[in-house]
Symmetry: C2
Subunit: 472 residues, 2 copies
Amino acid sequence: MAAGAVPEEVLLNSDLIQELKEVARDAALLHGVLMRTKESPNSSEVVSYAPFTLFPTPLPRPLFQQAVQLQILFNRLVDKISQDLSFLEEALASTIKVDDFTAQLFNIHRTVQQEGHSQSTVLGLIRSDYMLDLGPDGKTTLKQIEFNTIAASFGGLSSRTPDVHRHILKVAGLLEHQKRVMDNNPAAEFASALAKAWELYGSGRAVVMFLVEDVQRNIFDHRCVENELWKRNVPVIRKTFDDVFKTGLLDQEKKLFVLVPCAVLCGSFLCCVFLQNWEVRLMMERSQAVKCPNIQTHLAGVKKVQQVLAQPGVLEKFFPNEPEAVAQIRATFAGLYALDVGEQGDRTVAMALANPEKFVLKPQREGGGNNIYGEDICRVLQGLKGNSERAAYILMDKIHPQPVENYLLCCNSAVKLTTCVSELGIFGTYIRQGTKMVWNQCAGHLLRTKSAEHDDGGIAAGVAVLDNPCLV
Amino acid sequence: MAAGAVPEEVLLNSDLIQELKEVARDAALLHGVLMRTKESPNSSEVVSYAPFTLFPTPLPRPLFQQAVQLQILFNRLVDKISQDLSFLEEALASTIKVDDFTAQLFNIHRTVQQEGHSQSTVLGLIRSDYMLDLGPDGKTTLKQIEFNTIAASFGGLSSRTPDVHRHILKVAGLLEHQKRVMDNNPAAEFASALAKAWELYGSGRAVVMFLVEDVQRNIFDHRCVENELWKRNVPVIRKTFDDVFKTGLLDQEKKLFVLVPCAVLCGSFLCCVFLQNWEVRLMMERSQAVKCPNIQTHLAGVKKVQQVLAQPGVLEKFFPNEPEAVAQIRATFAGLYALDVGEQGDRTVAMALANPEKFVLKPQREGGGNNIYGEDICRVLQGLKGNSERAAYILMDKIHPQPVENYLLCCNSAVKLTTCVSELGIFGTYIRQGTKMVWNQCAGHLLRTKSAEHDDGGIAAGVAVLDNPCLV
């Protein structure tokens, strides 16, 4: 049996698994791995545990370290892209014609660009996602699935899961495995970066604002980061877009103010979590607030950019004198193909139709769960044939992860032995003041695991569950 | 305004209180201050927070310290009582005639006494409860309400509440108050004592068994202690009386065995949490297991003993050469009066009927919420007049605590400003091997607060809620 794998006498002992499930559930709850219920997503009167794996998943240490070490390079890359406005304009030209969301972002970008930015400090909080690809030669390599520039989700809860897995392993008598589960604290890492940016904003009256959706089922994930900020004596408020729409205003110096419960207006520095209201987004982009992400960093994260980056010579443009950096980043790229109108796009379509099982078709749309696989690729591409709308997608090589047997614990679902695949996210934080990078850190990791039956979908979509690497 | 009190601009700012409630609830949940729901007391699929106060309650530091310092004396006193079999027999003679529960305990005690004890190590985990009595002279003194020898409840959750209150105070801007909330970790203290007793038991194959009720709404409280034991590499199992009834057995050396999920029989060392099945209790008392409490220590905790201790000369018998210890303990006694048949009991009845508002009538019954107040005292005593059944009660002076304004947060209840009173419990742990006390510690505290409207009832009864002292 491979190191780090759970021995069969544990995995298949149904009495023990039953006991471990109870222990695991209560440990997750006690450690704050919480989620509000589907039925009452805006109430904390009764809550449940966030879904998670019973056991951590074996992951080769060298590949994990490769991903961790890459993160400060990816941070720099994303920040460079966000500052290269002609690159963004060119890369997204075809996308904004057909994808309304990206077009709206781009309009805001253009507006604030013309008006002039009132804040030169940028806070980046990004996540680069990978899967382990088992090649036909039997070699496993690290392949990037995507990178996200609005990526704080589950950084809080994943700070709590290592202790849960260690406890389960201890009760299961797997003491050697237990030592292979590393500490992970994205909540503290995010808070350190946010606190640094708050400090740079330079007003003791400023607060960090978490801009949240109306439906807040994942509030405990945010609360983990909030608590870490309060520990650092940085005040935090939570506001919905609607709150900001109703009570937000800019003063003459473009300082952003919102109404807080102490019944005074406070200068606020903000952290965007998600986006809905374009008017509010524009007000915030115009403001002196330090944005996370700002509009350019948001644009740098759209999938089309990822595909353009994979083209020959593009990474070299961002790292002109660092061939080693280019090689390290490129080594994690899977094949990525444009679907723009024209000959190149036609070739991509022909390739996808010939072997749809080899690819993933990815729309620009935000969030997980929208990717297209197998015969659906043919259906979608044939529907779009010759149509410029196919530029709203990119095509990517499908990754072949090695499946692992595990149990997935989800509220009110039966727990059964499941063949699973995992995705490793590495968090990064950086802060740039004007042209100077003053903070660049790897900020922990997020392992998500799902049934191999599901092609797609994240934790929020209820498909993937929280996990931890068990380094081997 | 008194130091430690919450300023009115906070206490009466309804917008801020609304915000703090949300913050408080989520903080309690994230810190593991959990309870299963009334609707599903045996499931952890959805859970709620254990009820708690929004703010900690001011408590004079000298009185708090007095209670803490007394604990190692109380530990010794309880242990001495448990070994003084003729004292127990005499003190409980009238009670066992009328109280069936105490009589059953006494029968088991007699049986194992005749057979001879097979374990000379005793683990005590006790709690001494106090209220602050505001005398007619305006002086506040510490008065003991009762002591408990089955008292582990809420030691786990109260280890988690200091951080919750500190967080609330920080968000409320009450930084000075925050520093007055002390650390408290009964879960770790219990676990240290349990681990020591496990070590003294002397078998690496032994496990700590938590004997639990069928309805386990308060499981998270226990889990806090279990987790602390696992951290100390001491294995823990949870068993109901029914589990032990069905699978428990004693070997020829009177080692106790129960079936555990690994499908092997394990030698078990045990911690009783609550009692129901007399057959199981007898089997356990006969066994080599270290009991917590053993039957004599259990008997030492019945309320009648408390009344006998308050009689002149009784404490002196237990501490013959320590007048200082006697004085310190006696200083916390409220007036306690016997209701045995006879002249003394008749005088007690007359005194109670004349001024019922000055007294509390306490039945022997285990657990809180059974005390009798005011006109009900007359009703009960008149019903029992001349009847030997009145020996099942003791009478105690009523304490007059100083009320404090606070908000009580209970699942699915409206939160409103409430006039509250508090009860301070001090936990103690001790281990005796034969005649030698090898462990004697104060093990933290438990402050419980309830609406002043309620005369009686604990947290489990849904009346009192978890609180913390804010030392002034």
